[in-house]
Structure formats: structure tokens, C-alpha cells
Amino acid sequence: MDPFSFNDTLLLATILFSVGLAGVLVRRNMVFMLMSLDIMLNATALVFVGAGARWHDATGQVMFLMILALAAVETAVGLAIILCLHARGRPTLDADGGNLLRGAEHG
């Protein structure tokens, strides 16, 4: 008997996705928002792997690899943006403070 049925996988992924979504909605610190996004991406990847195990198809793990690359790119670009904002003299990491798109000359 498999330790994880497909329903258990879906339940775990739903809980993890909800936790990540709550983190994105509640926290205003951008580092925490990125971490919550990573949790949500992990939950979706878990659904793919669980479905691949359920129907015995390698496509689930192929999609897991794609999500892994996507998470790496998202984290790298997000952290670069955070570093850029911090270098322009913003003492906090509050995401609501960055709601104006301005050119670089105002830096």
C-alpha cells in the first residue's frame, strides 16, 4: 500500500498553497513574500509529482523540473529587485512603499 494516496497529496498541497497564499497576502516584507511564493510553487510541484505517481507517468517530474527552474529565476530576479530598492535608500522592505514606477534618475 502506498503511503500517500492521491487525495492525501492533494490535501497536503492545498494546505501548503493556502499557507503560502496567506503569507503573500498578510506579510508586507518582500523577503517573506518571496518565501511564501516559494511555498506556493512547492505546493503546485507536489501536485504534479503526485499526479505523475498516480498515473505512473514521468511527465509529472518533468513539470517538477520546469517549476524548479521557474522558482530559481523568480527568486533570483525578486532578490535582485529587493537589493536594487534597498540600494536606493529605502530603509524598509515594505512592499506597499514601492507602488510608484519612476525612472532611474529619481533614484
Binding site: 500500500m1 502506498d2 503511503p3 500517500f4 494516496s5 492525501d8 497529496t9 497536503l12 494546505i15 501548503l16 499557507v19 503560502g20 496567506a22 503569507g23 498578510v26 506579510r27 516584507n29 523577503v31 517573506f32 518571496l34 518565501m35 511564501s36 516559494d38 511555498i39 512547492n42 507536489l46 509529482v49 503526485g50 505523475g52 505517481a53 505512473h56 507517468d57 514521468a58 511527465t59 517530474q61 518533468v62 517538477f64 523540473l65 520546469m66 524548479l68 527552474a69 521557474l70 522558482a71 530559481a72 529565476v73 527568486t75 533570483a76 530576479v77 532578490l79 535582485a80 529587493i82 537589493l83 536594487c84 534597498h86 540600494a87 536606493r88 530603509p91 522592505l93 532611474a104 533614484g107
Partner: protein, 167 residues
């Protein structure tokens, strides 16, 4: 549901909840690493050991190092020694250590003479199958992901370069 599966899933959920409720970013990173390790255990139980290895190597290895690097670079206003003392207090790493010990005990238990070792799920998908699918049917998707990685590299380089140019 198997007791080990329940344990791994519970550890991952508890650590994920701790991630979004911490006040200090480094503590959240510690809990996030525990979440990823527990998720790797869940992936192994799903028969996807290759995905679990990649989860540990890339997520818990590379992406978490990025997070720690950026948090160290941000230097949020406290002197370094005070911050390090704040981070290294036992209260900071006790929770992640307990959760990681649970996952590690689970690993050691499974390394031992496991009663269900003969009845392994034969439905395990190996790295061989994944590689065949990846570079057979989905080779176009691999190219698209390489474009995505290149775009991420260029944009991260551009953001970092403009910052260095202005200051």
C-alpha cells in the same frame, strides 16, 4: 495514511506556518529549509526520488543560499555583532532543529531494516524515465526553460549593473 507520511506532511505544514509568522527573516529561512526537507521526504514516499534529490540540491541548497546571501547583504540597521547574537540565540534555532530532528529520525528509521522494504511501490519513476521524457517529448520545453533562465540572468544582471552604475 502511513504514520511516516503523516509525520513528514505534518512537519512540512508546521514549518510552513512558522515561515510566514516569523519576525526575523533568518529564522524564516531556517524553517523554510525544514519545509523543503520534509517535502523531499514526501516526494520520496510518492516514488519520485529523483525529484526529491533535486529538491534538496537546488531548493534547499542553491535558492536558500541566495536568500541567506541577500538577507546578509541587506543589513537592516543593526550592528553586525548584535544581529549575530540575536540570530544565534538558542530560541532562534531550537524550533527548526526540533523539526529537522524529526525528519532526520525518519530518515534513519527508513535506512534501518524497514519492514515494508520488500513491498516497495513498484510504481517508482526513476531518473531514467524522467530523462527520456525530458529530452524526448518535451525537448522544446527544455529550450523554453533555457530561454527563461537566460532572461532571468540578463534581468538580474541588468538590475545589479544599473545599481552599481548609479552609486
Amino acid at each position: 495514511m502511513h504514520a511516516l507520511a503523516l509525520l513528514a506532511a505534518g512537519v512540512s505544514v508546521v514549518a510552513a506556518i512558522m515561515v510566514i509568522t516569523r519576525r526575523v527573516a533568518v529564522h524564516a529561512v531556517l524553517y523554510l529549509v525544514v519545509t523543503l526537507l520534509a517535502l523531499a521526504v514526501v516526494l520520496v514516499m510518492l516514488g519520485a526520488s529523483f525529484a526529491a534529490m533535486l529538491e534538496i540540491i537546488i531548493y534547499a541548497g542553491a535558492i536558500m543560499v541566495l536568500f541567506v546571501f541577500v538577507i546578509m547583504m541587506l543589513n537592516l540597521g543593526q550592528p553586525d555583532s548584535a544581529r549575530e547574537k540575536e540570530w544565534l540565540r538558542p530560541r532562534a534555532w531550537r524550533g527548526p532543529a526540533i523539526l529537522a530532528t524529526i525528519v532526520c529520525a525518519e530518515l534513519l528509521y527508513c535506512l534501518g531494516p524497514f519492514p515494508g522494504a520488500q513491498t516497495r511501490p513498484s510504481a517508482a519513476i526513476t531518473a531514467h524515465d524522467v530523462g527520456l521524457g525530458l529530452f524526448g517529448r518535451y525537448v522544446l520545453m527544455v529550450e523554453l526553460v533555457s530561454f527563461l533562465l537566460l532572461a532571468g540572468l540578463v534581468s538580474a544582471f541588468h538590475i545589479g549593473r544599473s545599481r552599481a552604475g548609479h552609486y
